[in-house]
């Protein structure tokens, strides 16, 4: 049934209008003036409204305005039934939002046809609205799924070696998904294998293609395959899954820090540039190979190109999204422009990377990108300017071997044997050979201080006598059992340089801070306060940060020993 609201202050008019509507199709609700029409509109939610114009309390124009104002996305046709036929009244009605007019006295045929037209429009609106809602829902769902998938991809592609200070990169997809691929892993200490790839196409289809390679990547790197063998394997694994019109252009290279060489296979990527310190080009590596997955067998006839790194050299690898970018004027960025910037003597060495990005952004300005854009700088000699800000001038050619993050919650501290935990962590790490006892002592001291003084606020002076010693540990045990809150966090980074290993340790606790030095008394041979002295003796540097709940320490040792 179609519900019609009929409002007129004259009973006879209401009867005539109701009588003009076929009772088998229409259900009529009547109102005696504009105000009642508005009230009944809210209650009955009619499909069409027929309004007299001249009514007491609220006239038809005002009632039209009020009802239309409440509709939102919905469309309910309002037809004014009026004896006013002058132009001004009609335009007043249109302005109020009326959809149509029926002149009084009305004709049954006119009423019927106007009703039909009004209902047709209403039904169109209804379809439109439901389509729109459905579309919005689908769009939202698809956006969520794409974001989720992009996150999964990103975590699958994340590798730790890239977080070292040697690399700078920016990779910006034109879509949610990135068809550019950047991976790096250490094949053995001091040797890092990097792949910067660019899939044919972009978006989801291109990004998915990187998964099989990404999944295998670290495994392939660990198995210490030579660069050409690695490229052949990667070619085979991609060829097996990619459709025939898809392939991966890639720069695949090994950075050998000890021998100061980079071996490079450029398979279909734009030319790779090496900038000399102070400007000028040391070397340019053009593509000599087919992209991966083009041929069944990756041709191994061309050996990798060898780059000898001189001090201060910087390597630039990028996807063609940089050089082929077009701006709104139709101009192409171009390789020449890129090469000129790389070689520029006017730019400071450390500024080049950021300058190119800024300049590129300014070039394309608001033009939406039509490809994924990746730029990467490799700077093997991180010692010059960057590392000074980190405060580790001794680390040359540094790369991160592992990162360990420990979070010891109060629940864990209550029950676990922390010393045993640390012992088992150190056990498996080969480079620590010969230094485990020192590292163990450092870690335990820093952790113990955080637990005992940071969380439990114990007094070391108890440890004057053997009895007090026991008392201290009994108190400590009681304190730990009752520990309601508090966490101790530890971060460990093992890095290697050409000659040295270096272990950076940071320990933080959620306590309010303590001053380890006023709690220590190392002048005489007291049985307490020895911990921090031991740490200071073993470490290259130790620093507590205000308010005393965070400490950093660095322990270093030579590679030969």
């Amino acid at each position: 049934m179609i519900r019609v609201l009929v409002a007129d202050d004259q009973r006879i008019n209401r009867v005539l209008l109701s009588g003009g509507l076929d009772p088998s199709r229409y259900e009529v609700v009547e109102a005696v003036d504009g105000r009642e029409a508005v009230e009944k509109f809210d209650i009955y939610k009619p499909d069409v409204v027929l309004l007299d114009v001249m009514m007491p309390q609220m006239d038809g124009f005002e009632a039209t305005r009020v009802i239309k104002g409440r509709l939102g996305q919905d469309h309910v046709p309002i037809i004014l039934v009026t004896s006013l036929t002058d132009e001004q009244s009609l335009s007043q009605g249109m302005e109020a939002g009326a959809d149509d007019f029926i002149p009084k006295p009305f004709n049954r045929m006119v009423l019927e046809s106007k009703m039909k037209a009004a209902l047709r429009i209403r039904s169109l609106f209804k379809t439109l609205n439901s389509n729109r809602a459905e579309l919005q829902l689908l769009h939202e769902q698809s956006r969520r799924e794409r974001t989720m998938a992009a996150k999964l991809m990103a975590s699958a592609l994340q590798t730790t070696a890239l977080s070292g200070p040697m690399f700078k990169f920016r990779s910006r997809p034109m879509d949610v998904f990135n068809g550019d691929l950047l991976m790096a892993a250490e094949t053995e200490p001091g040797k890092i294998r990097v792949v910067l790839g660019d899939f044919a196409g972009h978006g989801l289809a291109a990004a998915i293609g990187s998964l099989p390679l990404a999944m295998d990547f670290e495994q392939l790197c660990r198995s210490r395959l030579s660069l050409p063998t690695f490229a052949r394997r990667a070619n085979t694994s991609l060829r097996a899954v990619l459709p025939r019109d898809r392939f991966l252009a890639a720069a695949i290279f090994d950075i050998n820090l000890a021998d100061r060489v980079i071996d490079m296979i450029n398979a279909g990527m734009p030319s790779i540039f090496v900038r000399k310190m102070g400007g000028g080009l040391r070397q340019r590596v053009d593509s000599t190979h087919f992209p991966l997955a083009v041929l069944d067998e990756f041709p191994g006839s061309e050996p990798p190109v060898r780059i000898h790194i001189e001090p201060g050299d910087r390597l630039y690898v990028y996807s063609d999204g940089i050089t082929e970018a077009q701006n709104s004027a139709g101009l192409v960025y171009g390789e020449e422009r890129f090469e000129t910037l790389i070689a520029s003597e006017k730019l400071g060495d450390s500024e080049v990377f950021q300058y190119i990005l800024n300049e590129h952004d300014a070039f394309v300005r608001d033009t939406p990108p039509d490809d994924d854009v990746t730029l990467m700088e490799v700077f093997p000699d991180v010692d010059h300017e960057e590392s000074q800000s980190v405060g580790m001038p001794n680390i040359l050619l540094c790369s991160r071997v592992f990162h360990i993050k420990l979070e010891l919650s109060n629940q864990l501290l209550r029950s676990a044997n922390i010393n045993h935990l640390i012992e088992s962590i150190l056990q498996g790490v080969e480079p620590l050979e010969g230094h485990r006892a020192s590292i163990f002592a450092i870690l335990i001291e820093l952790l113990t201080n955080a637990i005992d003084h940071g969380l439990l606020r114990l007094d070391s002076r108890l440890k004057h006598s053997l009895e007090g010693f026991s008392e201290y540990y009994e108190e400590r045990e009681r304190g730990l059992k009752a520990l309601e809150e508090g966490t101790v966090m530890m971060d460990m980074d093992l890095r290697c340089s050409k000659k040295q290993w270096s272990l950076d340790i940071e320990v933080r606790d959620t306590g309010s801070g303590f001053n380890i030095y006023t709690r220590s008394d190392t002048r005489n041979n007291k049985a307490h306060g020895r911990g921090i002295m031991l740490v200071e003796g073993l470490c290259e540097r130790v620093q507590y940060f205000e308010p005393g709940n965070r400490v950093q320490a660095t322990y270093m040792w030579d590679k030969t020993s």
Binding site: N419, E423, A441, E445, S465, F469, G537
Partner: protein, 94 residues
Amino acid sequence: MAIHTQLANDEVIIVISGRFDFNAHREFREAVKTVGHGSRCVVDLGDTTYLDSSALGMLLLLRDGGRDVRIVKCSDEVKKVLEIANFHRLFNVS
């Protein structure tokens, strides 16, 4: 971690294997009780993998009662920790 004591030529030998840390304090105290004040004693760290500052503290307390303490069979790693703490000046370390 395990602590054993044995008597040889009027000397108490305290053998500590595994981790020597605060978890050892009870056993270590029991071991110290067997060493009389002013007597001689040997701490055998041949099987000690790790030690921390509470272990150093315990060694100091062992020495406190006027006992003549020798620390023997230290691995290079353990010796390094002892030396950093200047223990080779207080003890006979070998």
